[in-house]
Each structure stands twice: as structure tokens, then as C-alpha cells.
Symmetry: C2
């Protein structure tokens, strides 16, 4: 069968080609690559189609479950990527897209990412990462010092200690939070006497050992949803994730927290950890960390701070006081792909006590051997890319003062936007910005004026309609593709703590100007007049009319 | 303070610059970028220094825990990266580096990774990923079909179903295995009657509900170390990770497995899952998956297959029979950064039953809302990058037949290398290749000839010295930096099941030729003659001499 043999040889040659011959500069992929190199913002602006196609339409291009039998030309595939994927992706870097936590990236991140990808190191072990291991340890030390400000001898002692690590790199904040709570759990149920620790013996014997009926995690009701996954995974159960009430500014109510701790003790449930939030996902508020640290100390439990969002506020001399108390945390989560401006997929957890991670230490025969400097013996994940390099690059190139500027500008911008919302007759601020996140909603002026005169039932009706209106508004704005805000449900103090649908804005992109913020509001005012939302507006007006001239009959 | 104000303005301008002005082509970073674009292999070859510096020396360049106050010029930082990081990284793509699971990457992966990074999508939710969500769902369906071969109506029904997913993308195999076992645990302890499920109520009440004293995970003693982390995290405890004995070919001993299952039942411990391995990390062997599937069915427990390494063997018509039975697994782990040739940080878990992940479903108020198509409601991780794009690219551009070639070549190459080892007087094969991984060790010819005549004590002494010798050999070869094999500890049937130090070789790089394999062995023969290893050789010779002329006195 010479024909088959010939085809096989051709296949083999093609195969070697993709491993040995670079894409030519004038090839389709080469040109795209060059265009991104020359001007990524321009490339994204040109190639991402603003107007949203429905997800169902997009799915049609990704509906075959069959792996192609034959190879595809790179050029052909690149065309597909351009037309079907890039065109239909989300312009996360656009300065008018202020609804999510993904901002524009500094330009240098792209070529440095290419170096990282080309090197393809695996930081699980020194044998496949060499200098990337000391580098990752250095980055962990830098962030540790940002939080805990230990002295030079401390870092000199611990930074490259083969048996320990100052923290762990993770794919993101969820794994970071989980790692922190895993450590906390294993330290609470550490080996003692004949008990060989929860890692060895499991949850049931661990509880028996400490003579309690359960363990609980306490966080405000604004806690990130990753904590729910963590208590599920760790065998604690969501029943014992205690969501403590917040005050009017979305911060944990310390009195309530104390009452919950007391209740748990009566129920023979041990508090595993208190979780303070430094920048809630939805409103950007910061819990009273010092007071929480006091309570954690009093109850002898782990104090974790989820600073995935707000951690980098520590760069700012003017604003770092907002996180006062974070230095008393046993562990802290910070996401690098948020306010450190690193591409997606980089989080960290730092531990105050450099020996804390001993509680989750593990080894294998082929790697992570005792005494090796392999970072993988203290991480939840196994193989991991060299993302620490990009954090290192950001910290070096932008510097502390550069990040300070970014943080201060964001907080300033949030105040500017809050002022715009407050001054506008048709909007209502539903959470004051503390960091650079805030929420608000569209409430027509007439409705705002009617609220004080409304019966509780009428107020409820108004809010239900306003929920509908704001949900539609967010959807239409997203679909129009020019600007973007997100939405969530929030208990709002001014509305007797009722849970309302609100628009959410995150102001981390340094390219977002005041003019763009004005444009976001202007577009919303316009969209409200569209045919989708008009009927809701009409219903709102009717209720307002009823409030203005209450019916006196017995109906 | 006009001076301060001036400095502040300059800082601000610099800050905007890094977000708005691309690196110039003639800049230091621009030139590195271009060099990688033009010829990544050449770049790595030129810039990675072969000769190993000690890790302590390297650490000196990464020892400051201080975040620089002032910004650094990108060019200055790039020089640092070139000289201190790239130079001291590991040449994972080199065809002579056959000791780890990271191979060379196809060229197109680099520019496509840049597109992915530039787009900076977050696949946790459609709002920040749009087309990347259907794309990820399609890739999961493709891999699902590769394993389970369901029919077109099945995929048509499930591929884009908003309430379900055919699997989950993960940062790697560890998270994939953990996700599979999390699902298995939550399905075993699903809500029933007044019991609201383990996710809600936790491990203690779950065990009480099923009236048992514990749950166990069963895997062969060659199971990946991530399973130890999983039982720890999930509250099961390492005591209940049952490491079943293997047969002479490193495959689980099914008789032993049955005995363990019987023992567990007597001890009132429920088997949570059997884990079959399709390509053990250390020896590349495949468990008898069909027999394990039978046992799992008989005992009503979850059957997970860890095919992180071997999964892509399914691409090969000639070799896929080696994984027979995998289609009966409830869940399967496959790593894309291994034999799908995607850059580090991409794993997957697939579930046979498309509704399985309901057991770990979660929601939040601001994303992952009920009814949304957000993939994040069924993943352990939260924010995740668009890595699915690179898997999609590999499957499309390389195609089924291309991957088949890669797999077949690797298995062929392993057989070639095994033959070389077998024919060489000074090496001993310690595990036959089944896929493309094998182990061997250096054993001088004289020692090989002495073994049959040695007393058990003498054999033990010989093996202890051979362990030392091979450990030193692996270290010296790594430090010389020309080629690389790894090492592990393995029970070897030919040596009465004693655990020995062996050299480990993974043959997945298509650029590794027979000549390179010859060179690896030749270098080892040379290194053994060096001054570090010579004393060990000398001791070995003495024992051989004693075996040849046994002392007849009573000593």
C-alpha cells in the first residue's frame, strides 16, 4: 500500500513541522500576532464585535462534539478564531466596561507572558522550574511583607526555607481561600497524643477527639461564594457556614458575630475560622478587621482575611488604613489577576506563621521529596505555570508607588461616580464606595419622591418593578455592547433592609475617565426609554399616581 | 510643593504609558519578543544556560522581600529576566530532557496563547467570556465523546445545556481528580428524606445517615499523590486511602482489591470510589479497567479513572485497546498540558452522566444565577482563563490523526529505548513500557552476574549501593544540563518486590530521536566513572568479589 505509506509520511512531516518551524510573519497567524504586538488595544477594538449576538447563535459555531479526523491548516484555524471567537468575546479591557473585576493589562504583560509560555516551566518542583522556584518564593515574601511587615531577619530566615513556604500560589482566589481554610482545619485538628490529626484520621474522629459536634466558619452575608464550596469540600457542611448580618454599610455586625459565636458554643460547635472581607465582591466594603481579630483571639480560632480584591489597597499610604487589622490575620488571600493587573489565573494565599502550611504538607516518591525546595509539597494544586513571574514583573516595573497611584485613582474615581449618581435625579446610590466598587440603581425622580408617602405594600410594589427595570436595563446595556455594568441583589438599609436588584460598578481600569462614566449613565437613561422597559416605567407611574391621590373607597 | 506635584504628574504619565503605549519593536523587550516569535527553540537554546548553578546561588538573585518603591524601566527588567530567570530556567522542551511530563510545544501554541492573554476572558461566567463558554463546552464534549462515544442526539441534548456540564476545566489533574471525588462523595451522600445531603450537613451526619463508620478510596499503590490530598481535603482521612498492592507490571492486583473491599465492609466502611490509573505517573502502566468497573458496579461505588497522562492514547486506533474499560468510568481525568501539548495549567475532568455535577452545583447573587449558562456553577475554581481555546486549537490543527501519530511514536520510542537498555550490559530495565514511560537503573555487568549467587543479605547490600549510585547519577546528569532523566522509588518484582531507586523516562517529545536516547545512556556510562560515583562502584566490586569467592570461615 504505497499510497497509505505516502500519506503517513506526509502526516509525519506535517507533524514535525508544527514542532520545528515557526509561523511565518506573513502567515495569517503571524499577522494577527504582529497586530497584537503592535497595538493590542487597537486589535481588540477592531476585532471584537460590539453588538451582542445571542448565546444560542454563538453556540451554533461550537456545536460539534467530533474531534476533526484530519489536521486543519493553521491559517484556516486562525480565521475561525478571528471570526468566531475573538469577534464574539468580551472586551474586558474596554474602559467603558466597568461591571467586572477584569481590567486592561499593562502592555508589558503580553510579551512577558509569551516568555513564560515559551519557557513552559512547572513550579511544582525545582527540577522543572529552577529559578522560577526562588522567584515564586520571593514574590510570596514580598506580598507577605506588604501585609505583615516582618523584619529583615525574619525574611532572611524563611524566604527560601526548604521545609516551609510563606504562602502558596494558586490559580485564583477560590483555591487560595480553600487552602487557607484547609490549613486552618488541619491545625485545629492537629495530631495530639494518640490522635494522628484530621489529615490522617478524617473528620469524624477529629470531632470526637476535640469532643465537639461540628465546626463552623463565620463570615458576613457578603462573603464570597467560594466559602460555600470550601465548607462543602472540607466536610464541614454548608449548615455550618454562618452568614452573619451586616451593618448599613455592608460590613459584618460585630455584635451579631459575638452572638453567633456564643450560640455555636452552646451547640457544641467549634468555630474553625472567622473570615474578614477586605473589599466585598459586590460592594467593596471592608469588615472591621481589628475587632474581628480580637474576637478570633478570644475564641482561639483562625482569622482569615479574604482580600482577593482589596489587598493591593495596602500599596497606598493614603488608603491602607482602610485595611487596618489585616496584619493580625493568620492568612490572607490576594488575587493577582485583579488589582495587580496580571492576566487571568493568578491568586495567592499568605500565612502569617511560616510553619502553618506544615499542616497540609505532602510528599511523593518521584518529586516533593523531604528536604527538597519543591513548592508543590505545600500547595493544593500540583503542576502549575510560572505565573509568579508576571506578578514579579508587575511589582518591579510598576513599583509600590505605581500601584499606589492605581489604587488611589480608583478610589477617587468611585467617589466621582458616586457623586454623579447622587446628583442625578433618576439614580439612587445603594452602597457608598469605600474602595473602588459601588452599587446604584435607576429610580425615576417621580418614584423617588413617592417613596416617603407610600404604604409598605406600595413601597414593595415599587421595588419589585424597579428590580425588573434594572435587570432589563443591565441586560440591554450589555447587549448593546458599548458599555457594561453588572448587577446583583443587595439588602439596602434605606429600604428597610429589603433585598433589591442593583447595578454594580468596579472602577479599576485606569483608562476609565469621568466622561466615560457620564456616558454610562447617559446610555442608561436612554435605554430606559426603549420599548422593552417602557411598560415597566408605565406601571411605576401608575403606582406613583395612586400614592399621590390615594383612593378613599374601601377597596 | 511644585516639585512633588511635578513628580506626581510624571508618575501618572508613566502609568498611563504602560497601559496605552506598546513596547517598541527595537526596545529590549520588543527584541526578545521578536526573537521568540522568530524561533523559540533557538531562543531557548541560546538563552538557557545548560550548566546548573546551585539553587542557593540562584536564590541570591531572588532574596529581597521588598517591593521596589520606584518603577523600573521595562528594558532594565527585561535584562534581569534574560540573565537571571530565563538563563536559569529548565529547558523543558529540549529533546534530551526525557525525565518529566512537559514536552516541546507546537509553534502555533505561542501566538494563540498571546491572543488568549490579550483577550483576558474569565470563563467563570458568560458575561466575561461570551464565545469562550460555548467553546469550552464544545471541548468538554469532544473529550467526553473520545472517552464515552455517546451518539449525536446525546451531545445535541447536553453540550450547551445551561443546567449541566459534561465535565469541568481545571488548572490541572489534581483539581480534576479532586473535583471527581467531590462529586462522587456528594452523590453517595445525596439528599434523601430528611437528610439534606453532605454538602449541606457535613461528613458526620452524612455517615450517620448511611449508617457507616467511614468512607474509603481505593487505588493501587502507584496512585498519584493528589489522591492523598483529596481524601485529606474531603474529610475522609488518609487512613481511608487504601493503597492496593500491584502485580509484577505495576497494575492493581484485582484479587487484593476484592479482599480490601471485603475487609472494609466488615469494618463498616463504605467504598466511596475505586480509582483506576490509565498511565501511572512513574511507570506508565494501565490498571485492568474493565475488571475494576465490574467491581465498582458490584459494590455500588463510583469508578474514577485517572488518565491525566494516558488519556490521549484513545486517539490511537492501534493502542486505544490498552485503555479498554475506560468508557465504563463514571469520571475521567485528562491533562491537556501533558499529552495534548498545551502550555502548563490545563486539566479536565469528564463525567459520564451529564447530571453528575449537580452534586456540586452552587450559585451566587451576582453571577452563576440559576438558568445562566455560566460554567462557574459547576467548577471547583472560580475565575479561570480561556485555556480551552488552546485545547480546541490542538484538537483542530493537529487533528485526531496527528495526535494518533504522536501517541504511536511515543510508545514506539519507549520500546526502542527499552530494547537499548535491555541490550546494554550495564543497565537493567525495571519496568517494561506499556505506554511511553519506563524505568531502569544502572547496574554494572559484574553486579548483574553476581545477583543470582548472592545471599539475601548480599543482594540487599548490592541494592542499597545501587540506590546510591543511581541517585548520584541522576543528580550529576541533571547538573551537567545536557540531558535529563528523573528518578523515583519502585518495588521491582525481579528483586523480590524490594523498593529500589530507579531512573524514569517519559517519551512524549516528538523531537527525541534514537540517537538522543543512545546519548543519554552513553552520558550515564561516562558519569559513573566520575569521582563522585567511583567510590560506590568500588564498594560494589568488593561485594561482587566476596560473592565470587565466599569466605569459608565462620565469620
Amino acid at each position: 500500500m504505497p499510497k497509505n505509506r505516502e500519506a503517513a509520511r506526509a502526516n509525519l512531516e506535517n507533524l514535525y513541522r508544527i514542532f520545528t518551524i515557526p509561523e511565518a510573519p506573513e502567515s495569517t497567524l503571524g499577522r494577527v500576532d504582529q497586530a497584537i504586538t503592535d497595538d493590542v488595544a487597537g486589535f481588540l477594538q477592531t476585532h471584537i464585535v460590539a453588538l451582542e449576538r445571542s448565546i444560542e447563535e454563538i453556540e451554533a459555531d461550537f456545536s460539534s462534539p467530533c474531534i476533526p479526523e484530519e489536521p486543519t491548516y493553521v491559517s484556516e484555524y486562525t480565521d475561525f478564531v478571528k471570526e468566531k471567537l475573538v469577534a464574539q468575546s468580551v472586551h474586558t479591557a474596554a474602559p467603558g466596561f466597568i461591571g467586572h473585576m477584569t481590567s486592561a493589562l499593562p502592555y508589558f504583560m503580553l510579551p512577558l507572558s509569551r516568555i513564560m509560555t515559551a519557557l513552559n516551566q512547572n513550579t511544582v518542583k525545582v527540577e522543572t522550574s529552577k529559578a522560577f522556584t526562588p522567584l515564586e518564593r520571593q514574590v510570596l515574601a514580598m506580598l507577605h511583607r506588604l501585609i505583615y511587615s516582618c523584619d529583615a531577619p525574619f525574611y532572611n530566615r524563611w524566604i527560601h526555607d526548604s521545609r516551609h513556604a510563606l504562602g502558596a500560589f494558586c490559580s485564583g482566589g477560590t483555591i487560595a481561600n480553600l487552602t487557607a481554610l484547609w490549613v486552618a482545619r488541619n491545625r485545629l485538628f492537629a495530631p495530639q497524643g494518640s490522635f494522628r490529626g484530621i489529615a490522617q484520621e478524617g473528620m469524624v474522629r477529629a470531632l470526637r477527639h476535640l469532643d465537639c459536634d461540628g465546626v463552623a466558619l463565620l463570615v458576613s452575608r457578603r462573603g464570597h461564594y467560594s466559602l460555600g464550596k470550601a465548607v462543602d469540600l472540607l466536610g464541614i457542611g454548608r449548615d455550618n457556614l454562618i452568614l452573619v448580618e451586616t451593618d448599613s454599610r455592608n460590613r459584618i455586625d460585630v455584635g451579631e458575630l459575638e452572638r453567633e459565636l456564643k450560640r455555636l458554643r452552646q451547640e457544641r460547635i467549634r468555630p474553625l475560622a472567622l473570615v474578614g472581607i477586605a473589599g466585598t465582591t459586590e460592594t467593596g466594603n471592608v469588615d472591621p478587621l481589628s475587632q474581628m481579630a480580637d474576637l478570633a483571639a478570644e475564641h482561639g480560632c483562625h482569622f482569615h482575611v479574604d482580600a482577593a480584591w482589596g489587598g493591593p489597597t495596602l500599596f497606598s499610604e493614603k488608603n491602607r488604613h482602610l485595611l487596618a487589622g489585616i496584619e493580625r490575620a493568620d492568612s490572607v488571600t490576594i488575587d493577582a489577576h485583579k488589582q495587580l493587573y496580571v492576566p487571568m489565573g493568578a491568586g495567592m494565599v499568605l500565612f502569617k506563621d511560616p510553619t502553618a502550611q506544615t499542616a497540609i504538607e505532602h510528599h511523593a516518591a518521584y518529586i516533593l521529596r523531604h528536604g527538597s525546595k519543591d513548592l508543590g509539597s505545600h500547595t493544593l494544586e500540583g503542576s502549575r505555570p510560572g505565573k509568579a513571574m508576571l506578578v514579579h514583573a508587575g511589582l518591579s516595573i510598576i513599583g509600590r508607588k505605581g500601584y499606589e497611584l492605581l489604587i488611589d485613582l480608583g478610589i477617587e474615581r468611585a467617589r466621582t461616580f458616586a457623586a454623579m449618581v447622587r446628583q442625578h435625579p433618576n439614580f439612587e446610590l445603594t452602597s457608598e464606595p469605600e474602595l473602588n466598587i459601588l452599587t446604584y440603581r435607576f429610580v425615576p425622580e417621580a418614584v423617588q419622591q413617592s417613596f416617603p408617602h407610600a404604604t409598605p405594600e406600595q413601597a414593595r410594589q415599587l421595588n419589585t418593578l424597579l428590580d425588573q427595570l434594572n435587570q432589563l436595563l443591565q441586560k440591554e446595556q450589555r447587549e448593546a455592547g458599548k458599555t457594561f455594568v453588572s448587577r446583583t441583589r443587595l439588602r439596602v438599609a434605606d429600604h428597610s433592609g429589603e433585598e433589591l436588584t442593583v447595578l454594580r460598578v468596579v472602577l479599576a481600569n485606569p483608562l476609565t475617565t469621568a466622561a466615560i462614566l457620564e456616558a454610562v449613565l447617559a446610555e442608561q437613561c436612554e435605554l430606559v426609554r426603549g420599548e422593552e422597559i417602557a411598560p415597566v416605567l408605565c406601571q411605576l407611574e401608575q403606582i406613583c399616581a395612586a400614592i399621590a391621590s390615594p383612593c378613599s373607597c374601601a377597596c
